[in-house]
């Protein structure tokens, strides 16, 4: 079972970015403007530590969220998708005229008990 998944369309963009930039990570943003969207960076670009929760891997790259934010998100399942757009962050897909976005749903009972015991 997973906490985070990715659509085929978004996977394809991740593969493109990987070919260009090498190893990558996702970090879920919060706050103003382009917040509440996932950002993709080169692996070394962002300093990560125990305050970042690793929710799982998508298309071979890890997905992180700040643990304070995760407290409010942990009952939901996330799917990374891609749409036309032009976010104002440092996320690497922006020059393509695309933006990663998150679709969420509630974890079902099976998933909830799975993540409770794991």
């Amino acid at each position: 079972m997973t906490r985070v998944e990715i659509t085929d369309k978004a996977s394809e963009i991740v593969r493109q970015l990987k070919a260009k930039h090498g190893e990558l990570i996702f970090h879920q943003s919060g706050g103003c403007c382009d917040g509440s969207s996932p950002m993709i960076f080169e692996k070394e670009d962002m300093y990560l530590d125990e305050s970042d929760i690793h929710l799982g891997d998508v298309e071979g790259i890890p997905f992180y969220m700040n643990k304070d934010q995760y407290e409010y998100w942990k009952h939901t399942h996330l799917t990374i998708d891609i749409t036309q757009g032009r976010g104002g962050s440092f996320s690497l897909e922006i020059p393509l005229g695309l933006r990663f976005i998150i679709h969420s749903r509630l974890l079902n009972e099976a998933e909830q008990s799975f993540f409770k015991s794991n």
């Binding site: 103003c32 382009d34 917040g35 304070d68 104002g88 969420s104 509630l106």
Partner: protein, 499 residues
């Protein structure tokens, strides 16, 4: 009255060292209007080299500019204000076209406020004085404020000209040179301003570069050629910018958004009068600027004994919002700034409903007719639920308020503070004790009491908690762009006697 889309050139340039310069790499991006998704113009897709050129120009200009008199700098800031004022309608129209907000707002809020910020800091720098202390009979301590040098500013797309006018004037007034990057979604009003004020400042004092965050924003934020970075945006980019600043041991200021509570105590309904009318409007201000405001009052907290009656009026007022062509002065609410925002807001409707939030009104996109059918319109939306739902905890940055009830003062404060953020809050009451005590108990940098969404230049604005740090507006802003030179002067002719 209705306006129409303003005319633009085919493409624009960066403004570096007092001149309009094409990007070195020759690449451009297409900027579109969210009103109908039509092309506005092409803007430079700048890279590291363009950023470096702008920073070199700013560094070359900083000594001379930092040594100009306060009177001179103030006169130039006032000149900029006069130029914007003389072209108010043109700026308003360009802003509406680029951002999608209703022309009613740009004519009456964005542009007039922007003008006032330039004048405010022109006045501040003239009125201000340093400090001197006589530490003892022979020793004088003199504090002189000196500019930092070169400042990098990265501004958002929700109030393009106004956010520029929050950031540029205090930096320039205090004698800094600036390299500013507008958001790639809204490069137009910054460009128009540079066209109008190209000759006002000496070359290199103000530089504007366009481009994408990873290609132009990151080189600006991480450059060792800047002495400070000021950023408005979201938390992840904020964290990255602080990382880069730590490498250069540079100061930063951060304004990172919020999830602002707007609290209505039962006394608001003690009478059916002008004040109640104001309070209802205060709740509906979540729809101001399509909800694309860092301080959007996106959580409405209503005391339970007035909940039904109060919300009935709020829903009625929300339903009376006219959402139509943003160029029409009767329109109250325009388009969301971009497709990704439009999609994001709708994905929040989905998870909100799944978590059990009840849609009181709105909750879907608004399909307008004609060319507007291609634009990004969302109906003003009220969702009823509880504070643990994700729609209550995350900045949706759309015309969406989440409504819940509270029993008493303690519960109101608990819900209000149960958030990662602390930028704005509203408190509405006729009770004199609550007027003071509730705002003090709320962990936010700005609490509006019996009002909301006022942004006078004279009042400091900024966040607690994950909403950031540092303040904008107010004369205290100037110290975020300066360092203190302490001169410790001895008037004693006699030696210490140590050696």
């Amino acid at each position: 009255m209705s306006y129409s889309k303003p005319k633009f050139k085919e493409k624009y340039a960066n403004f570096i060292n007092g001149e309009f310069v094409a990007p070195v790499g020759g690449e451009y991006f297409e900027n579109t209007s969210p009103i109908d998704n039509s092309l506005i113009a092409k803007y430079p897709r700048s890279q590291q080299v363009d950023v470096d050129n702008a920073l070199d120009a700013a560094n070359a200009a900083k000594e001379a500019w930092g040594n100009t008199s306060a009177a001179h700098r103030a006169s130039l800031l006032n000149k900029v204000a006069d130029i914007i004022e003389a072209n108010l309608e043109e700026f308003a129209l360009v802003e509406t076209c680029d951002n999608g907000k209703a022309i009613r707002e740009t004519l009456n809020a964005d542009v007039p406020l922007a003008i006032d910020h330039w004048r405010y800091f022109a006045a501040c720098i003239r009125a201000e004085e340093g400090t001197v202390s006589e530490l003892d009979q022979h020793t004088l301590s003199m504090n002189i404020k000196e500019p930092l040098g070169v400042v990098g500013q990265i501004i958002p797309w929700n109030f393009p000209l106004l956010m520029l006018s929050w950031k540029l004037p205090p930096a320039l007034a205090t004698g800094n040179c600036v390299v500013l990057k507008p958001a790639e979604q809204t490069p137009s009003s910054a460009t128009l301003l540079m066209e109008k004020i190209a000759d006002v400042f000496p070359p290199g004092v103000v530089n504007v570069i366009h481009g994408f965050g990873p290609e132009a924003g990151k080189p600006l934020a991480s450059s060792s050629k800047v002495n400070k970075v000021a950023f408005t945006g979201e938390t992840t980019t904020g964290q990255l910018i602080m990382q880069y600043a730590s490498k250069n041991l540079n100061p930063v200021t951060m304004e990172l958004g919020g999830k602002s509570p707007n609290i209505f105590f039962n006394s608001v309904m003690d009478a059916d009068d002008a004040y109640l009318d104001k309070a209802i409007e205060g709740a509906v201000l979540f729809a101001f600027n399509q909800g694309e405001v860092c301080t959007c009052p996106s959580r409405i907290l209503v005391q339970e004994d007035i909940y039904d009656k109060f919300m009935e009026k709020v829903i009625e007022r929300t339903n009376a919002i006219i959402q139509d062509n943003p160029y029409d002065t009767n329109t109250m609410m325009g388009a969301q700034a971009s497709n990704d925002q439009f999609e994001k807001i709708q994905s929040y409707f989905k998870i909100g409903k799944e978590e059990g939030a009840k849609v009181l009104t709105g909750g879907e996109a608004n399909k307008l007719s004609g060319d507007l059918a291609n634009g990004f319109y969302i109906k003003p939306t009220l969702l009823e639920g509880h504070n643990k739902m994700r729609v209550f905890q995350e900045e949706i940055f759309g015309p969406v308020a989440c409504v819940t009830k509270f029993k008493d003062e303690a519960e109101a404060i608990e819900i209000a503070n149960d958030t990662l953020y602390g930028l704005g809050a509203g408190v509405w009451t006729r009770d004199a004790h609550q007027l003071y005590q509730i705002p003090r108990a709320i962990k936010a940098g700005r609490v509006w009491v019996n009002c909301y969404h006022a942004y006078p230049a004279h009042a400091p604005f900024g966040g607690y908690k994950k909403s950031g740090f540092g303040r904008e507006n107010h004369l205290m802003m100037m110290n975020y762009y300066r360092q203190t030179k302490n001169m410790l002067i001895s008037y004693d002719k006699n030696k210490l006697g140590f050696f």
